[in-house]
């Protein structure tokens, strides 16, 4: 550990590091200033005799105004800069590759759109943006990769997202950053950033040269969702070809902005679909009858995730 900030290995690290550097310069400046003045006064005005002269100074409006305004300006700069970089952290590009992340006591599962799954090892491709759609099966966890400067709590009962573009090939530690019980400090995983060639080989299921484990091929979440769509009766009301039956069609549904019965509107994303399956009447789209039953206790979180993935494929 030669430097005070860890290696930067994502597209987001540079802007975070620049702000950190700026705040550090400001902090060191003020710390040195205050300490130097304090020590200087302490030496210069130490009590040498009992009747030492002192000055009767109660306040000085000019100085007090100056030392209120300067920190205020600096703090506003830091706030604005931090916010701008935060917006970048929070808004993934449209072309980002999606990976489902399931955090549970005390392991990490990853599901790729190809159907591959991996345990405690995330595989991503260098220079390709990745968007993680994360859920927890039990308590709150947090996805943290220091070299990427990203962190996001993962909650049970909703999806949280996080994105980054890995810029360096290598293996990085993934740490759980939200206390989750006795296995918390062992809830560790690796992020393997592969070169495009190595990633292609990994996707095909070939053995990697460095011997990293290759996940078993299984049914993709979207395929599983397709099965569920017909098995669990969704098809009766929700078509997949654009026809209006009883409820809205699933075709082109994901990403659409729907007008609700109460006049407001909502973006159809992972959380809205999940909510509509578990609590159909929470946000009713205008023009449809409130007849859908709740699937709470019928469809598991895993099955809902699969349905969401399936709906996304219906373009």
């Amino acid at each position: 550990m030669s430097t005070w900030i860890p290696e930067s290995a994502s597209n987001l690290a540079a802007s975070v590091d620049n702000i950190t550097l700026f705040v550090t310069i400001v902090s060191v400046f003020f710390f040195v200033l205050i300490s130097a003045v304090l020590v200087g006064f302490s030496i210069k005005y130490r009590r040498k005799s009992e009747d030492q002269e002192t000055a009767y100074i109660t306040h000085n409006s000019v100085i007090e105004t100056i030392w209120t305004i300067i920190p205020t300006i600096l703090l506003m700069v830091i706030f604005a800069w931090g916010w701008i970089a935060f917006k970048e952290l929070r808004n993934p590009p449209a072309e980002a590759i999606e990976v489902n992340v399931i955090a549970k006591q005390w392991l990490w599962e990853f599901e790729y759109f190809t159907g591959k799954k991996s345990l405690n090892e995330l595989f991503v491709q260098q220079n390709k943006p990745v968007r993680l759609i994360m859920r927890s099966d039990d308590v709150i966890h947090s996805f943290f990769v220091p070299q990427f400067r990203v962190k996001q709590d993962i909650l049970p009962g909703s999806y949280q997202q996080l994105w980054f573009t890995p810029t360096k090939v290598g293996t990085f530690d993934l740490l759980c950053a939200e206390y989750c019980g006795s296995g918390h400090s062992q809830m560790l995983a690796k992020v393997n950033v592969l070169s495009p060639e190595a990633f292609a080989r990994w996707e095909k299921g070939d053995e990697l040269e460095d011997g990293a484990s290759v996940a078993a091929i299984s049914v993709s979440p979207a395929e599983r969702g397709k099965e569920l769509h017909s098995q669990r009766g969704c098809l009766a009301c929700h078509s997949i070809d654009g026809k209006e039956v009883i409820g809205p069609t699933f075709k082109n549904l994901y990403g659409k902005t729907e007008k609700l019965a109460d006049g407001s509107s909502v973006l159809v994303d992972e959380n809205y679909i999940r909510e509509s399956i578990y609590e159909p009447q929470a946000k009713m789209v205008e023009g449809y009858p409130p007849t859908m039953p709740s699937f709470k206790g019928i469809l598991s979180e895993e099955e809902v995730t699969a349905l969401v993935e399936y709906i996304k494929t219906l373009k």
């Binding site: 702000i19 902090s27 002192t54 100085i63 931090g82 400067r149 996001q152 400090s185």
Partner: protein, 534 residues
């Protein structure tokens, strides 16, 4: 500052009466202050020993001192909740607040002496519940985050019930102080002449009164969810885990200022006396305590920037967090400027006050990193937070507390401690504290998460350095404690009732003060800080 010399025709010190009954049934604010002081010091010791155990465990990456990770998790839960709820929240406000407020404003006692005693009894009930919980402690961390705190197999209810009961003590004390400061000031003790410790205590009391009920309700909901399965916070039962975090921090962020604002007051009392200078910018310091108290109600979401809150909410709360830094910075500048052209005496309490300025500055500046959104994402829940928080809580509050102990020791107990040993202990504490916590900033930057019983190999050098520091810090506190305890069993009284030449009212009465403080209520004619006025 007061009219006439205070003569005591029949001086009976408040400590004269002996026996258990004279303590548990006392309504004397000075004795109630001592009762609090003893209890909070007891919890400070237990929680401190727990911390030494945690640091010892973290010497090496593997688990070696504790048998299981759960034992380590219980240790940091105990350390956090004892330190926060049983030591530092009541802390200075209940001990020194009780002792000093009536003396400083020229009153014979607080407005409601019997409610004051009731507050202490409630505090004792809370501690009794907590001690009974120690047999089977929780492992949730002092934040009790849901749904973990609902699902864990360890016992959460007793510890939260203890904290819930404590809350009432805090509320009653706050109410009592507000009324006392409004109604019992001596003639001539105008708002503009009040000692800054009184301003600080007033700001703290408002926070206690308004914020504490929220944590009480929150913990009650948590208890209801665990005991009766009512789904407030667990999404599996239709609850919302983020709701808990909102409730919890709505109290616990103002609580940070309940902990530290009284220390601001103490520093503002100690520095002018030993610099023989009026406090610089009296009004700025007084108003900034209130500014901090008010803004502190609107920054709680900065604990949740990565919890999944909206971007807009994050931006608003980052902005407000930056605002709270401004009055804090102003105070630091004012204290430093007070030294200018003074006549500085380095009494042990002054050494604590000066180290407060330096260490609290570090605590404040590192808070700016955490207020900046994108930087917080990286640093959140790492050791950077641990270091920042300890620089504010130990570097700030505890330094203020130790400074107060040394400054008002003669007045409160009527005894004298060894000044040379006190200075040596201060030196060990100052060095030990920095060796313990400064490396943790770097660990945090590197990405070491907090609350880890075991950790990746690469952090070992930081962790072991931090552990060595904790031994120096522990030794310093031990020496300080012994040095302050020994004189209590010795005979003798201080030579002077005002050895440091303070102008504040509490120094104008004998040490220790008589039972009702002032034989005749003094009339105040000038402000408290007129040092060197010509």
């Amino acid at each position: 500052m007061a009219n006439g010399v205070m003569t005591q025709t029949q001086y009976i010190p408040y400590l004269a009466q002996k026996g258990l009954k004279s303590w548990i049934l006392t309504t004397d604010h000075k004795r109630i202050g001592i009762l609090y002081l003893v209890t909070i010091s007891f919890f400070f010791m237990i929680a401190g020993i727990t911390a030494l155990g945690m640091r010892y465990e973290l010497m090496t990456p593997e688990l070696d001192f504790f048998r299981t990770a759960t034992e380590y998790n219980i240790a940091f839960t105990l350390h956090g909740s004892l330190m926060v709820f049983f030591f530092i929240v009541p802390g200075i406000a209940a001990s020194f607040g009780n002792f000093l407020i009536p003396l400083m404003i020229g009153a014979r006692d607080v407005a409601f002496p019997r409610i004051n005693l009731l507050s202490f009894w409630i505090y004792l009930v809370g501690t009794a519940i907590l001690l009974s919980a120690l047999a089977q402690p929780a492992d949730t961390g002092w934040t009790f985050y849901t749904p973990y705190s609902i699902q864990t197999g360890t016992k959460v209810i007793m510890i939260t019930l203890g904290v819930f009961v404590l809350g009432f003590s805090s509320i009653l004390t706050g109410m009592n102080f507000i009324v006392t400061i409004h109604k019992l000031r001596a003639p001539g003790m105008t708002w503009a002449r009040l000692p800054l410790f009184i301003w600080a205590s007033y700001a703290t009391a408002i926070l206690q009164l308004l914020a504490t009920p929220v944590v009480g309700i929150t913990l009650l909901l948590l208890i209801a969810e665990r005991a009766f399965d009512i789904g407030f916070f667990d999404p599996a039962k239709g609850g919302d885990p983020i709701l808990f975090q909102n409730f919890f921090w709505f109290y616990s962020h103002p609580a940070v200022y309940i902990m530290v604002i009284p220390a601001f007051g103490i520093i503002s009392e100690i520095i002018p006396v030993f610099a023989r200078k009026p406090i610089f910018g009296y009004k700025a310091i007084a108003y900034s305590s209130f500014a901090i108290a008010i803004i502190s109600f609107f920054v709680w979401l900065h604990h949740m920037f990565v919890s999944g809150i909206s971007e807009t909410a994050a931006a608003i709360f980052s902005f407000l967090t930056m605002l709270v830094a401004i009055p804090t910075a102003i105070k630091v500048f004012n204290w430093t400027a007070t030294l200018y052209k003074g006549s500085i005496d380095f009494h042990s309490s002054m050494l604590y006050a000066l180290s407060f300025i330096v260490l609290f500055t570090v605590g404040g500046l590192t808070g700016v990193y955490l207020g900046a959104l994108a930087v917080d994402v990286h640093l959140h829940d790492t050791y950077f937070i641990v270091a920042h928080m300890h620089y504010v809580m130990i570097g700030g509050t505890v330094m203020g507390f130790f400074g107060a102990l040394h400054f008002w020791y003669q007045k409160w107990f009527g005894k004298v401690f060894n000044e040379l040993i006190a200075k040596a202990a201060w030196f060990l504490i100052f060095v030990g504290f920095n060796v313990t916590f400064f490396p943790q900033f770097f660990m945090g930057f590197q990405g070491m998460p907090r609350r880890y019983a075991t950790y990746p190999e690469e952090y070992i050098s930081y962790h072991s350095l931090s552990t060595y520091g904790s031994w120096i810090l522990g030794l310093g506190i031990l020496i300080m404690t012994i040095n302050l305890l020994i004189p209590l069993w010795k005979k003798g009284r201080p030579e002077s009732s005002n050895p440091y030449g303070s102008l504040s009212l509490e120094w104008q009465v004998p040490s220790p003060p008589p039972h009702e403080n002032f034989e005749e209520i003094p009339t105040v004619t000038d402000w408290t800080y007129a040092y060197g006025k010509k």
